[in-house]
Amino acid sequence: MRVALFATCLVDTVAPQVAMATARLLERLGHEVVVPPGQACCGQMHVNTGYRREAVPIVANHVRAFAGAEVIVSPSGSCVASIHHQQAMVLRRAGEEQLAAEAEALAERTYELSQFLVDVLGVTDVGAYYPHRVTYHPTCHSLRLLRVGDRPLQLLRAVRGLELVELPAAEQCCGFGGTFSIKNSDTSTAMLTDKMANILSTHAEVCTAGDASCLMHIGGGLSRLRSGTRTVHLAEILASTEDAVSPHQTTRPAISAETAEVPA
């Protein structure tokens, strides 16, 4: 299959390894990957911050950039959710009926990575190898808007060498929420604190998720705590093999499960 990759503005700019991992994974599974050069942003940040009028040309650019793509895959639950739930609505409100119809048609061919792998390709074992203790945070938009369910967990369970540990209170929001993390910085941090406590209680080396944005938030907090636990996108884990273990992952957990006397 010829797959158009939507990197998302955030991944493209600050976490390119996530998009690269997505491309490598899809190629390894035998698919051709194209990266439409006109892509920028889905418009979600503008819409969710109240700038829905300003989002119109952003969405229009997205629709232009991916016109003609057979299928579009993106390593982000929230951007794909925005493509599914917001783009056409924003265009319609601005009177762009024709473009809204195009956006809707495009949304039907746009998939979040775990959905694409499990539902479209029908694979759960992608041949990955990742010898680490990992916990999974189901990001809110993957969970409640896209309803990806346990697809990411199915994929993780099939990864060789990976020890999957359950995250307590996993379905609680990490507190990112886009501009919420800045406008309501204190509340966001309070939510993050509880999320981090739960992550550290698992003694996982790595916390993974399907959204680079939430991971940047959680990872930024874990890094500030100098906890040693890292955040790694699901795509990076799935792209990792015996021949090419993701270079970022050499850390050990701050407190190892064996030596911990009192669980955090």
Binding site: Y51, I58, D186, T187, M191, G221
Partner: protein
């Protein structure tokens, strides 16, 4: 009989009332200076103080997680919960579409059965009507059933100003009233207090514990605290000539009012006094008896996590020699018609005040209800309060959410709260007359993000941020605002040397 008071002047319009994207029909929002729909500080400031209160965090965390688990259990055992939920939504949508007709039918039926209907445009009118009705009975005290509508309009303050003493009889409302506090939850207004704090309030304020000979032996056991409240309240129930209530539902076809509760204190108020005055928001109405079938299943499971609430009281007008012999129904608008005019926001009027959204909200759980400044806190408050007052009077509330969507999933009538929050953010942004720095930044970014060439340049400029990091994996923790809002508690990764699209183009020879 129907009354509508003479108006002394036009209701002051809050700014933001004529909202873009809606047909402005000249509908007034809730007036300023009366009631409890507006806070005196923006949400982030109030939340900052609340977050520092460790005891509050502990009380809220304990209470909300307990209610969440109870709710999940009893909702999970209903095989057709989703169908019930959609039925609730459909009933509310249909009712709102013809609210005017249903309200007139309700008025006809209540009147035909011996009740009196009063129409109150806003909080001031409602307070004036109730005060006048109480004064007409010659009494100087009333007992109250727990009611959000009367909290919304600040009825207690209005009564006190007229020399009338209101006694809250719901246990949690009593705690709040005796503690000179404000409710912080729709269902459990004293959720922010633990039993040690409640014991202290009771000992300090209840007459039975005062005086040199009083027995001040009151342990903080829930049972003993409830017994103290019962002793305190019984005397007032037997003495009261007038009761004031809200309503969970009103059935238009029969003129029947309904209150659901747990304690039985509401039923005492609804049956013992001579006069009953009910203040009800106009959106609480259902057209037919059959509609109650759906809501009486949805409400208790969503609110207290019970299959059925212990007391469901219903009354229709006046029954000779049984219960109150005088019944007044005050129908309250106070901004509701303005909400109804907004195609997206009107869904907020479907709320049946179960508070399930508060209990699942990660923001509410940490900040508590007082941070919202309105009697309607939590997710539903964040969409209801700004609409009732006009969005500019509660401009920070639509942003008081991470848009995690837990509220939408929990809502028994499937109100899409996250979408309304996003809509209200846009209403706020579009109401700004001056260009704010934030708006300028978003406009510039929008320009870049809609032009690939400009976007690549912007990405390259962002990449220069790595010079500040001087080779470290993260940016310096001290960045100027607004980035400081992030870096105060989180590291920011150093931008990479090359974006993904650059690297891809290089690899693929473009």
């Amino acid at each position: 009989m129907t009354t509508a008071p003479e108006r002394t002047g036009p209701t002051p319009l809050a700014p933001g009332a004529p909202r873009s994207g809606t047909t402005f029909l000249g509908l007034p929002t809730a007036p300023r200076g009366v009631g409890h729909l507006r806070g005196d500080r923006p949400f982030p400031d109030a939340a900052r103080d609340a977050l520092r209160d460790g005891q509050l965090r502990a009380n809220l965390g304990h209470a909300t997680s307990t209610i969440r688990a109870k709710r999940a259990r009893v909702v999970g055992e209903v095989p057709d919960w989703e169908a019930l939920r959609q039925a609730g939504k459909a009933l509310k949508t249909a009712t709102m579409a013809r609210l005017d007709e249903h309200l007139l039918e309700l008025e006809r039926q209540v009147t035909a059965r011996g009740g009196t209907v009063h129409w109150a445009r806003d909080a001031d009118e409602a307070n004036a009507i109730v005060t006048r009705l109480v004064q007409a009975t010659g009494t100087d005290e009333v007992v109250k059933v727990k009611s959000m509508a009367t909290q919304e309009i600040g009825l207690n303050e209005a009564l006190e100003a007229a020399g009338i003493t209101p006694h809250e009889t719901d246990l949690a409302e009593l705690i709040v009233q005796l503690g000179d506090d404000a409710p912080s939850h729709i269902l459990v207004p004293a959720i922010h207090k633990n039993r040690a704090e409640i014991r202290e309030i009771f000992l300090r304020t209840m007459p039975q514990f005062q005086g040199p000979d009083a027995d001040r032996d009151l342990p903080d056991e829930p049972r003993r605290l409830a017994m103290a409240a019962r002793t305190h309240l019984r005397e007032r129930f037997l003495r009261a000539k007038v009761a004031i209530s809200g309503a969970n539902f009103a059935v238009a076809e029969t003129g029947t009012l309904a209150v659901v509760e747990s304690e039985g204190n509401g039923r005492m108020c609804l049956t013992l006094p001579q006069t009953l005055i009910t203040v009800m928001g106009i959106e609480k109405l259902v057209p037919t008896w059959r509609d109650l079938e759906v809501f009486l299943q949805l409400l208790p499971r969503s609110s207290t996590g019970e299959r059925m609430n212990p007391y469901t009281s219903m009354w229709t007008g006046v029954t000779p020699d049984d219960g109150p012999q005088e019944f007044h129904l005050v129908l309250l608008d106070n901004g509701r018609t303005a909400v109804l005019a907004d195609e997206v926001g009107r869904e907020a009027l479907h709320c049946i005040r179960c508070s399930a959204c508060l209990n699942v909200c990660p923001v509410y759980e940490r900040t508590g209800g007082h941070s919202y400044g309105s009697v309607y806190p939590g997710p539903i408050g964040a969409v209801l309060s700004p609409q009732l007052t006009g969005v500019e009077d509660n401009a920070s509330l639509p942003y008081a959410s991470s848009l995690c969507g837990a509220c939408y999933d929990a809502c028994p009538v499937a109100i899409d709260i996250p979408s309304i929050l996003v809509h209200l953010r846009a209403e706020h942004v579009e109401a700004q007359e001056k260009l704010t720095p934030e708006a300028a930044a978003f406009k510039a970014l929008a320009k870049a993000m809609s032009n690939p060439r400009l976007w690549r340049l912007t990405q390259r400029a962002a990449g220069l941020g790595r010079l500040l990091a001087r080779g470290k994996p993260t940016m310096p923790p001290v960045l100027p605002p607004p980035a400081s809002g992030w870096t105060r508690s989180r590291d920011l990764p150093t931008p990479p040397r090359e974006t993904f699209t650059q690297a891809w183009a290089r690899e693929h020879g473009r």
